[in-house]
């Protein structure tokens, strides 16, 4: 139930996927909003929430990676062609890398900003700054990298979501449902769908 097997994902992998996905995607509108609001009080709070959630993504992703390597990966449905598999896996690699690189570039912004606002994750843990040069130009550089990577990863995430929906509604396989229900076997759904249609 908790661990993955050859056909399906266990509960832990499923929770990691959705919890991280929710926070990661939520960070994008939060980041967009916080840099545009003219209310300084609100802006200060939004930045601190964004930083806290960013470190939460980073921490959860590290644990997720450990869990990933300690588990088997359910195999792809046989119906997937080599190009489809390669594209899907490339998207997964990009999204995985994004979960680490984007929070770290955000950390770099907070560390290089002349404002030197401490990072106090959820007002619980002080996160020290990275040893980077502090200047307006360094902050602008990391801000640009962070924003471009965030929007790029959002585009990849949209592709990932569309692909999952494609599998569910067109190909009618269990790619999406096995990420929703622990240990639902891929062939079951394929079978039921065939019976229905």
């Amino acid at each position: 139930m908790l661990r993955n097997n050859k056909e399906s994902f266990g509960l832990i992998s499923i929770l990691f996927h959705w919890v991280i996905a929710l926070i990661f995607l939520g960070q994008i509108p939060l980041g967009y909003w916080m840099v545009r609001t003219s209310d300084f009080t609100l802006q200060f709070s939004l930045y601190q929430w964004h930083k806290s959630f960013g470190f939460l993504v980073l921490g959860l992703s590290a644990l997720r990676l450990v869990w990933k390597f300690a588990n088997t990966r359910p195999s792809d449905p046989a119906t997937m062609g080599p190009l489809e598999r390669a594209t899907a896996h490339a998207a997964h690699v990009i999204l995985y890398l994004s979960l680490f690189i984007i929070p770290v570039t955000g950390w770099a912004i907070a560390s290089s900003s002349p404002l030197q606002i401490p990072t106090f994750m959820f007002n619980l843990v002080v996160i020290p700054p990275l040893p980077l040069g502090i200047s307006d130009s360094a902050e602008a550089f990391w801000t640009a990298i962070h924003a471009y990577l965030a929007y790029f990863s959002a585009a990849v995430a949209v592709g990932h979501i569309l692909a999952a929906l494609h599998h569910h509604f067109w190909k009618r396989d269990a790619i999406l449902t096995r990420m929703l229900n622990p240990h639902r076997k891929a062939p079951e759904r394929q079978l039921t769908q065939k019976v229905k249609s």
Binding site: F40, T41, P114, L115, Q116, P118, P128
Partner: protein, 197 residues
């Protein structure tokens, strides 16, 4: 009669001690009586402040524009008083973005509340050259008691300098943005130069 002799001896000793102890007090009163009068606070004064932050360090700065008068009555310290006005727009921290934030409606709201005032209500001597100044501090439309510790640094015929320190809780004035990352306590460290008026 041995006890009578001892008692007399003790009385004499006490009398001598009291006499000796009163000499510096008289001398001090003589010096201080020279400083009695009204003074105008000079631009050479320094109104420094600092706000601590989690993980050490914090924001340090000073206010460039201020005005005030004080009356000294050394023979009856309680009759002394001070009226002080600070212009928060003149805040200086060496970092323009922090200054803009402090001036904004997140902190001072200097557009709507251009002055911060302090009026003493009670001055109490705490040692030969120190006093506690209690009063009412008004900032951002809110008035709350505040107290400062003044110590005489030096004085001439027409000029006098005090070192003044005090802690202000910014939450009392609706300025608690950024807590607990930034301390609620603002530490004031001031040098008040007065010129006889």
């Amino acid at each position: 009669m041995k006890t009578t002799t001892q008692l007399l001896s003790t009385v004499t000793r006490i009398a001598i001690a009291v006499t000796l102890a009163s000499i510096p007090l008289v001398a001090k009163a003589d010096t201080l009586s020279q400083v009695a009068g009204s003074y105008k606070i000079q631009p050479s004064s320094r109104i420094g402040f600092s706000v601590g932050q989690v993980g050490g360090g914090g924001i340090k700065g000073d206010f460039k524009k201020f005005s005030g008068v004080f009356k000294l009555n050394p023979t009856s310290i309680g009759q002394s008083s001070i009226n002080f006005t600070l212009y928060p727009d003149s805040v200086s921290t060496g970092q323009a973005r922090i200054e803009n934030f402090l001036r904004s409606d997140a902190v001072f709201d200097s557009a709507n509340f251009p002055t911060i005032t302090f009026k003493s209500t009670q001055v109490t001597q705490t040692s030969p050259n120190t006093a506690e100044i209690a009063g009412m501090l008004t900032a951002r439309g809110k008035t709350s008691p505040a107290s400062f510790q003044a110590s005489l640094a030096n004085h001439g015929k027409n000029s006098i300098t005090f070192q003044v320190e005090g802690k202000i809780l910014r939450s009392r004035y609706g300025m608690d943005v950024g807590t607990p990352i930034y301390s609620n306590v603002v530490q004031f460290d001031m040098q008040i130069d007065g010129q006889r008026s």
